[in-house]
Amino acid sequence: MTEIIASLREAEKKFFFKQVLTDINLTVNRGEIVGLIGPEESGKTTCLRCLIGMEDLTGGEAHVLNKKMPKLSVLNRIGYMSQETALYETLTAYENMVFFGKLKNLKGRNLKDEIDKKLRLVELQDAGHKAVSKFSNSMKRRLSLAITLLGEPPFIVLDEPTAGIDPKSRIWVWNQLRTFADAGTGIIVATQMMSEAEQCDTAALLMDGKIFAQGKPKKLMDEFNASTIEEVFINKEAVI
């Protein structure tokens, strides 16, 4: 049985006269990783922000956890990680997690347990009381992910989670995402690294604000007669 966690229906977004998104149809099911794949400026971030209701759609609808977005109360059940690591550099990892945990309405014993659990998950349990400014890039990413996961959100939205980190950490991130999906979380990941599309259950290929192909990565490669997703884009650009 598949359960829909989030969806965009005929979504359209204009900034003044600039058409940023055109006719986007997208569904994230329970236990599924959806990849939103496209080059820079293709509208990935806007698409994610519209989905979680940070941005208004100019046409169509966004739904998350059976609620029409934008809706403030749903935000605490979404784990959103933006492109920036978004951490307070002078504070320790632990203090960062306390702050954002409190904003997510976690309190007392519950908050403390959640933080310990998530720090262990991202293998930062020994660096909890170190200032973030002393962290490496991939440590910052992992901490950022840990904050995103506070409160066990049933829907996770990640904007370029693997940008600027080493290959080993990248593989680690994708393994973690697969574990969450297996536990029933719905995940959507925006990335410009085409090679990562093959890790997703469904890939949506975005260009100039339009999804030109969507489906299982294997199927897409067959359809465009390519051996990697990179080639799909190159073939597509050649057609245009």
Partner: protein, 358 residues
């Protein structure tokens, strides 16, 4: 309202971790105030060097005020070289019916002081002549001497320009630093992405803004208290009215600056733009808040001052510090300041819609 508390806690943790910035926020205004005090208060009695020929009437020389140093010359010198070489402010020659003054006039603001000094010398000579005439008259013809008694409505005979400036100057410093501090702190949160992360939780926009406003407000209260107490106890400032009013006015002013800072941080796209906006808000207030006497400013231009919070704070502070007035004289200014705070807060909450729709 959970969020408000968390935001305030986080703000103070960050400030304590990077304590250099809050400490500077307090020390720099104190340094500026001290500097202004030294420039405007102590330098009130400018010393004057006056050159005269040695044949000059000694009454003239004795009649000079204390701040004048008289240097006598035997021969009539070449004035152009002498004024510069001996660093004189003026050279005076007195003939029977005329008096010749050559001013150096390098610093025109000094010339009137020289003029007053010379007038005093001339008066001394005239007094002497008069006394000679009077002593020749029979006693009953002499009028008794008139005595002048002076009293002041505000201040005292030793009041300086600094005392007039002081209330508005503290206000200006408090406003400027509050605006600078809040807008840069929040701008950084935007560029670091932490602002977006806060917005991706269910905390209300009004909660976020109020959290920051209260957090900054508490710090501004401390800063204001230190600045005011420093001026009173170390710079010898005289507060005629109630000290409590001085605190209330300055804290309201600081809050209006903090609210403006939060709003303004969302208007700028780069740090440079932010600096320009801050200057755009601060610089006109220097001219329009009463710091510079209004007689020098055109009426229509003067009216623009009422668009800025510092004008109201300056007027209220003058009422309290110099005139010793209370509530009936300042309530409308306090109301204006509160309107500024509410106005900027509402604008900030609305502007934040750009970053999150709900």
């Amino acid at each position: 309202m959970n969020g408000i508390k968390a935001i305030i806690e986080r703000l103070y943790k960050s400030m304590l971790k990077n304590v250099k910035i809050p400490v500077l926020m307090i020390l720099v205004p104190l340094a500026v105030l001290t500097l202004m005090y030294l420039v405007f208060d102590v330098n009130n009695n400018t010393s004057i060097r006056l050159g005269v020929p040695d044949t000059t009437n000694t009454t003239f020389i004795e009649g000079m005020p204390d701040n004048v140093e008289v240097i006598t010359y035997e021969l009539a010198p070449v004035l152009e070289t002498l004024l510069d070489a001996d660093d004189l402010d003026a050279f005076v020659t007195i003939a029977d019916k005329s008096l010749n003054i050559t001013y150096k006039n390098e610093d025109p603001s000094k010339t009137p002081a020289v003029q007053r000094a010379v007038e005093k010398g001339v008066q001394a000579i005239e007094n002497e002549r008069l006394e000679r005439v009077i002593s020749a008259l029979p006693e009953e013809a002499v009028l008794s001497e008139m005595e002048i008694e002076t009293s002041y409505l505000y201040g005292h005979s030793e009041s300086t320009f600094f005392e007039k400036m002081f209330p508005i100057l503290t206000g200006l410093l408090i406003f400027f630093f509050a605006l600078l501090f809040t807008s840069i702190m929040l701008f950084r949160e935007r560029t670091a992405g932490t602002a977006e992360r806060i917005l991706s939780t269910s905390v209300r926009r009004s909660g976020i803004i109020l959290g920051y406003l209260t957090g900054f407000g508490l710090f501004m209260t401390l800063q204001t208290a230190i600045i005011v107490l420093y001026s009173i106890y170390l710079l010898d400032m005289n507060v005629t009215g109630s000290l409590a009013f001085v605190f209330v006015i300055n804290i309201l002013l600081a809050l209006s600056a903090a609210a403006a800072g939060i709003f303004v941080s969302m208007l700028a796209n780069t740090e440079f733009q932010l600096m320009i906006i801050i200057l755009l808000i601060t610089v006109p207030q220097i001219f329009l808040s009463g710091l510079i006497p209004f007689v020098h400013i055109g009426d229509w231009f003067n009216g623009i001052g009422y668009g800025f919070p510092l004008r109201y704070a300056g007027e209220a502070l003058t009422e309290v510090i110099i005139k010793g007035n209370g509530w009936p004289y300042i309530w409308n200014e306090l109301l204006a300041l509160m309107l500024f705070i509410t106005g900027f807060t509402v604008l900030a909450i609305l502007k934040m819609k750009k970053y999150r729709r709900t």
